[in-house]
């Protein structure tokens, strides 16, 4: 489903990602591992076309980085659920509104939105805080809102960038189980993480990066 071919992003300071060629398959749960600064987030940014590759290309379903239009980029992003490493919530909206945003944006009905958002908030354990402004949440709460917002729209692909960094082990586990469940229903998941304890019992495909390149272990 995702094909990277000689994918290179050059930030001009020697950093970035280099010459990545690989494939991610539809319905897979892929773990993206590697030390800090190795390029995991950058690779994900290329996947939602926040950066276009300097060299090589990436194609996701029918979208190809070499010939995608602006309108198609927005369309692509609507199909991907992104859990940003730094959350990126709209601080002056409340929890409910932040989570509902992707649904509101694509024109769902009020009733459908209420039902769906309530279910998701319950799953991440934030049903009771739905009225609180995102700006005043605790770190872990923000992270769970970000997760809820990514999965609420039933995307075909979830990009989870370090989704448990601010969660206690129990909450981390809940979230991971949630992602597993969604994956089992057919959504592809790519998750960057440093939490080896969390993933040690899974046999998901692991991709290791170092210094902007893939490494074989």
């Amino acid at each position: 489903m995702i094909t990277c071919s000689k994918l290179t992003v050059n930030f001009g300071n020697g950093e970035g990602i280099r010459n990545i060629t690989t494939q991610f398959y539809e319905g897979d749960f892929t773990l993206l591992l590697g030390p800090t600064g190795c390029g995991k987030s950058t690779l994900m940014r290329v996947m939602y076309m926040d950066i276009l590759p300097s060299k090589g290309y990436i194609s996701i379903r029918n979208w190809d980085s070499r010939k995608i239009s602006k309108r198609q980029i927005l369309k692509l992003r609507q199909g991907i659920g992104i859990i940003f490493q730094d959350f990126r919530l709209i601080e002056n909206l409340n929890v409910f509104e932040n989570v509902a945003l992707p649904l509101i944006m694509t024109g769902h009905s009020r009733k459908a939105i209420h039902e769906r958002v309530s279910v998701i908030l319950d799953e991440v354990g934030l049903l009771e805080t739905w009225r609180q402004k995102a700006g005043s949440l605790s770190g872990g709460e923000k992270q769970r809102v970000a997760i809820a917002r990514a999965i609420v729209k039933k995307p075909f692909l979830i990009l989870a960038d370090e989704p448990t960094g601010n969660l206690d082990p129990e909450a981390a586990n809940t979230v991971f189980e949630l992602l597993k469940k969604i994956n089992a229903l057919g959504t592809s998941v790519i998750m960057a993480t440093h939490n080896y304890t969390l993933i040690e019992d899974t046999d998901y495909r692991r991709i290791y990066m170092e210094n902007g390149s893939l490494v074989d272990l």
């Binding site: 940014r45 939602y48 076309m49 926040d50 950066i51 276009l52 602006k70 309108r71 980029i73 927005l74 369309k75 692509l76 992003r77 609507q78 199909g79 991907i80 992104i82 940003f84 990126r88 919530l89 709209i90 002056n92 909206l93 509104e97 509902a100 945003l101 992707p102 649904l103 509101i104 944006m105 024109g107 769902h108 009905s109 009020r110 939105i113 917002r149």
Partner: protein
């Protein structure tokens, strides 16, 4: 759901970013009141030249020996000239009074008989005081039978003409410059107020939000701020009119009439400017791709 959310977001934005909102209202209010106020003032100054134009007159001197009928005949012919607004007959006696005023001597003290000629004092419509037109009229009159001479202050006429042209030119220039300047100020202020929230816009774009969904809250906000700013401008103008009237009444007993239309005009202008400015501003921060430089 989309529309109600956008409406709600507009008000949330207005509240959480009340500083930029207030600044935008103030800027629009002050700018509009300056443009409209200076426009009205300029117009007032321009029309007050009427006073000078009203003072302009042509004197038609007749031969001293004309009889009543001949004089009436000339008067009728003058009345036929459509540029003429007012005709005033100055008899020999009237002329003597004027002589006394001009030269400080009673003509009857010096001579037995009054040698001064009768004359007509003519005023033209103020649209007709262009030097060329006046010259034409004067020439026509001087050819009437019984008219000895036609006199008017040509140099003053030309001077006033020049002043009117100057004031019109400078006035229009200043108003145009003000319109441009205020437009820039309003647009910049609104741009800054959106700039302060550019990360929000970036986040929405990263979630795949399209053009109008992002811009509409800003556009609505701009309309609201513009309308409020316009109302504020109306209020400022209303106030200044009263202050001016109050202070000027000791000098002249004229007073400026404040038309409620000014409120309508400034509110609509403000709303339109707010709308376009914030629409453009929001658009200018809709980067599809990430930027690390801000």
């Amino acid at each position: 759901m989309r529309l109600s959310f956008i409406l709600k977001q507009t008000f949330i934005n207005l509240w959480t970013a009340r500083l930029p909102a207030l600044v935008a209202v103030f800027t629009i209010g002050i700018s509009l009141s300056i443009v409209i106020g200076m426009g009205l003032l300029g117009y007032k100054a321009f029309t007050s030249f009427d006073l000078f134009q009203d003072k302009f007159e042509i004197e038609v001197f007749l031969y001293p020996n004309l009889n009543r009928d001949e004089i009436t005949h000339i008067q009728n012919k003058l009345a036929d000239i459509h540029q003429i607004k007012m005709i005033n007959y100055i008899s020999k006696e009237e002329a003597a009074r004027i002589f006394k005023e001009e030269f400080g001597e009673d003509i009857h003290d010096i001579l037995d008989e009054n040698p001064l000629p009768p004359s007509f004092n003519i005023k033209l419509y103020k649209q007709m005081t262009h030097p060329d037109i006046v010259e034409n009229v004067a020439k026509r009159i001087s050819e009437f039978q019984g008219v000895e001479d036609v006199k008017y202050h040509k140099e003053i006429l030309i001077l006033i003409e020049k002043y009117i042209r100057l004031i019109t030119l400078v006035g229009i220039g200043v108003i145009l410059a003000l319109i441009i300047a205020m437009n820039i100020l309003i647009r910049n202020t609104i741009k800054l107020s959106v700039y302060a929230r550019r990360k929000q816009i970036a986040i929405l774009q990263q979630l795949g939000a399209g053009g109008l969904f992002i811009r509409l809250p800003y556009i609505l906000e701009g309309i609201l701020e513009g309308a409020l700013g316009g109302a504020f401008a109306g209020f400022l103008l209303h106030l200044s009119f009263q202050v001016i009237n109050f202070s000027v009444q000791y000098i002249f007993d004229v007073s400026l009439a404040f038309s409620p239309l000014i409120y309508t005009v400034s509110i609509i202008t403000g709303a339109l400017m707010g709308m376009f400015s914030s629409s453009r501003a929001a658009k200018s921060f809709m980067y599809l791709f990430a930027r690390d430089d801000y």
